[in-house]
Amino acid sequence: MRSATLIVSLLAAAVMSLSVDLGAQWPNYPTPGIPRLPDGKPNLSAPAPRAPDGRPDLSGVWAECEGGGTRCPSSERHFFNLAKDLKPADVLMTPWAAAVQAQREQREHVDDPFGYCLPPGVPRINFVIGGFKILVTPHVTAFLHETAAGLMFRQVFTDGRPHPVVSEPTWLGYSIGRWDADTFIVETTGFRDRGWLDTEKGHPHSDALRVAERFRRIDVGHMELAVTIDDPKAYVKPWSARAMLSLQPDTELLESFCDNHDKTMEHRRIDPAPPEPPSPPVSEGRSR
């Protein structure tokens, strides 16, 4: 038996090895437009700003904890366990998903695509160390992510288009956004198999995954992010996680790419990965 703590630290070490030059230099030009206290510090409890159209303005650099996500114990980070606040009965897996998860754990997480400089997937990309910037424009809201595997963006279309039928599924999916009162709802489909919802648990998802992200800015410094995982091939019923994001003022995203990829990768693979079985047809899971 390995201790959970050891696994978590191994994982952390594996993922961190990609990011050694992170966090050393944070350009600290003051972020324009942030309300300030008399001493010049950001007033993080001021009311949430609003855009000219009256909607809350979600712009800014966000992360699950301070310091771009570095100042929380791993036990408090959804990056490691997206279901950390849920009971096991809330996240019951289908047999296919349970087998995939068991294989991932049995192989000591060496098959995590994020460890091979591939994207961390959705919603995990929101919880990696580094944080992300939201940019709001009339037809697209862009999410700019600093991740250990590289700078990468997601586009959320807000021009009223529907979800397309996706013939080539992707790691980050296809996202459309809409407002429900003061909450920005992003719905994403078009995922491929082999994604990991989180890092320690290795919760799988299938190409039937539908992620709903609900962003609600509470004040200048805080935003609630509620994530719903609806994947009838992988989970017996939909489940939701709730995270609190902190504004990272007066700082910037930093470039990181997988420069030491060729070195780390050779060391990490234990043996050739037995391919994970593809997800079954929906008829074998529950219906949505």
Binding site: V136, L144, Q155, H261
Partner: protein, 278 residues
């Protein structure tokens, strides 16, 4: 070396999403009116928003990709306009002698600047008051650049990067983007394998000529690598009614193992400039 880079991209390009781009002027038959005047933003500046691509990217229908700026950034210049320093000439010779296998872009690292503008896929420009973002579909990932337009100066960069640090300002109707803070080991182009140093300063001038066309003029100023600054211009075309497509390095692990000929002798670091002191 074309084959090397194209190897990475076997999974993309089959599927282009075709939702009509909002805000594009249309002809009576519904096609985009690409010769309509360039749109303007609320502040009166030209609005550069949209998806853009240089001529002869790999999306071109003909074989002109091999004659593109991606392969030779100075293809329209005379050799004496891009004279290298001895350090740069030695690096270039090493890269060519090793059949280009050390190109970072072949290892899923960013194509660098300004090659990222010509490096395979198109890019989207998104404009907000403080930041203009460039969203690049590349063969190695969905990579963004931020261009700060909030008046900040270029910082002193302690940790140089592949894509540098960019600020933007308007010169009449031209958006001028200046970028510094680069690291050594970057490739300005692919076939010529032109090096740059950490002293590189790239100036990009974006001028939208009409709805469908933008001229991008680039100046390479790198006193460690080139005897004098040099400038080239690339026409960019708007791509309407389409979208960027996700591409990441899924085949990386397979291709990489085969590609290295032998361990790369490290390229010598760029020399110090007199102005940098000792």
């Amino acid at each position: 070396m074309g084959a090397v880079v194209v190897l990475l991209s076997s999974v993309t390009y089959a599927q282009w999403l075709t939702y009509p781009t909002p805000g594009v002027p249309r002809l009576p038959d519904g096609k985009p009116d690409l010769s309509a005047p360039a749109p303007r933003a609320a502040d009166g500046r030209p609005d550069l928003s949209g998806i853009w691509a240089a001529e002869c990217t790999i999306y071109g229908r003909d074989a002109c990709f091999t004659r593109s700026l991606f392969f030779d950034l100075a293809k329209d210049l005379k050799p004496e306009e891009v004279r290298m320093t001895p350090w740069a000439a030695q690096i270039q010779a090493q890269r060519e002698g090793r059949n280009h296998v050390d190109d970072p872009y072949g290892y899923c690292l960013p194509p660098g600047m300004p090659r990222i503008n010509f490096g395979g896929g198109p890019f989207r420009i998104l404009r907000t008051p403080q930041v203009t973002a460039f969203l690049h579909e590349t063969l190695v990932g969905m990579i963004f650049r931020q261009v700060f337009t909030d008046g900040r100066p270029l910082p002193v960069v302690a940790e140089p990067t592949w894509l540098g640090y960019s600020i933007g300002r308007w010169d009449g109707d031209t958006l001028v983007v200046e970028t510094t803070g680069f690291r050594d080991r970057g490739w300005l182009d692919t076939s010529k394998a032109r090096p740059h140093s950490d002293a590189l300063r790239v100036t990009e001038r974006f001028r939208r000529v009409n709805f469908g066309r933008m001229d991008l003029t680039i100046t390479i100023d790198d006193p460690k690598a080139y005897l004098k600054p040099w400038t080239m211009t690339a026409p960019l075309a708007l791509l309407p009614d389409t979208e960027l497509i996700e591409a990441f390095c899924d085949s990386h692990e397979k291709t990489m193992g085969r590609r290295r000929i032998d361990p790369a002798p490290p390229e010598p670091p760029s020399p110090r400039l007199a102005s940098e002191g000792r």
